[in-house]
């Protein structure tokens, strides 16, 4: 059996809080050349606190939603003795022997709110080619 822990590193100031932006559909690349660091669009807020996102040719109106269940953003802890850890243990419980020790996962941030946007049709922007996302 595979066993590992999910831990939150105890840092001053506590765990960072991130925000999630939820967009319908996929962000497509206009061309495959893709540049990292590209600008996605602009996020505005109305005076009433409603978010509006301008992406490509599109205007997306959204709302701020407090999540009923917060999300934890987990990253795999890098072990110093880099054992063969190429499989992601969250996906499969595969292990050849009993009780294999895997890397722990650390909570990088907690997400308690998201900005949800509805849109039709899909926005088109320049994005890095979607490998490994």
């Amino acid at each position: 059996m595979v066993q590992f822990a999910i831990r939150m590193p105890q840092t001053e100031g506590g765990c960072p809080e991130w925000t999630m932006v939820e967009l319908q559909g996929e962000l497509e690349t206009r061309d495959s050349s893709g540049l990292p660091g590209n600008r996605l669009g602009d996020l505005h807020f109305t005076k009433g606190g409603q978010p509006i996102v301008l992406i490509g040719h599109h205007v997306l109106h959204g709302k701020v939603v407090e999540l009923e269940k917060p999300f934890a953003v987990l990253v795999k802890e890098k072990k110093k003795d880099n054992k063969d850890d190429s499989t992601d243990s969250m996906d499969t419980g595969d292990s050849a022997e009993d009780s294999e020790k895997c890397s722990d996962y650390l909570v990088k941030a907690v997400i308690r709110n998201k900005l949800v946007f509805k849109n039709r049709p899909r926005p088109i922007i320049n994005l890095p080619h979607k490998k490994g996302l």
Partner: protein, 402 residues
Amino acid sequence: MAGKSRFLLTEGTLQEAQAVAEQAKLDLTDLNSSVQSLYLSQDMGDHEVRLVELDSSMVKHLEAGNSLMVRGDKADMAVVCTDDSTFELKSTQTTNSLLLLPDCRAPEQLVGGDGCLLHKEVYCISHLYLELKQCRPKLKKLQTLLQENVFTGPEYESDEKHTGKKYTTTDLLSLIQASEKELLQELRKLHAVHYDGYWRLVDFDYMGNVLQYIMDTVDCQSWSYDQIPTDKLLSMEDNVYPRVVLQHCLDCYGDRKTMELDGGSEEVHVLSEDKVCRYFAEYLLKGVGKFNLAEFLQTWKESVPVGMTTDLQQLEGVALIDKKSHPQVISHFPVTGLPEDAPDRFNRLFRTREKWTLEDITPYIRDLCERKQTVGSLLTKFARASTLPDGTKVYNSRVPIK
């Protein structure tokens, strides 16, 4: 630098952002003067994260410096365990794009006045997240592990029957998909003893000998079953059994109580009539197959200690009575020997007996209830109700029996 379009600029100014907004026909007077420009981070492709939905109490648990344990079995899904609960980990795909922003400002955090343009980065984009659903821990494996080396007394520990593996609490937690509290609860239920740092199942006959010894000692000392002075018993010089084992037996077949006596308080054990009678019943039923009910009831009554009363209710989940056979018979049928998985459990029950009344089947399915389930909802899911000619309501299988 490719990729410049009318709306996409790799660097911008507040004025440009506002111009874009105007072009999009937004009413600038209704907008907060600050704008957050979203960029995809340079090394977004390297940012591998997992999103897991947690409830607030788990977040607090983590904030306090505690861990959540993830335990994955070869065939099964992985589970997440807190100190006292187990949750199934389920992966959910979404067609939506979930952008994670480390540093997005909420509207109330935006500076007023003339505003400014803020550069904000998207750490990564996800289409997948993990949900947690509380579930029953998977404990059946525990019996299999502990059966590798059953305790039959200190004098036999080095013999050839006792070369099997022994397990500590930590060992078990790394092999069983359960929280620590649930594991310890199951160990108590199985009457496992913590001997020399290892958890051991105790041989049935050996346990009976220990129990008999305790009762004989109580009789000898003219103590009462309702008030066994724990320490006095455990400290007796010529005890035939180790202290740990005697203590364990007292805890399995009795309850601890603190008595206020002149001179202070004293810890005593109150022997449980139900548990002791149950032991004697199992002693009679084990390995016999079917026992004539009338004969069994008589023998049972005679075998229990003087002053204790037998009652068939004590055998719920332990024995099954066939009222339709002539003569009526009773057989050993412990719930702990049945499959853990609900469909398998029901299949075994219906294979043993085609139709069950609610009263008879309840002790054999009660432990299957997930958090919000009742016995009734389990029966609705796995059984079909019907009425016998005499009006009795019974349940039989919904599916062909394997």
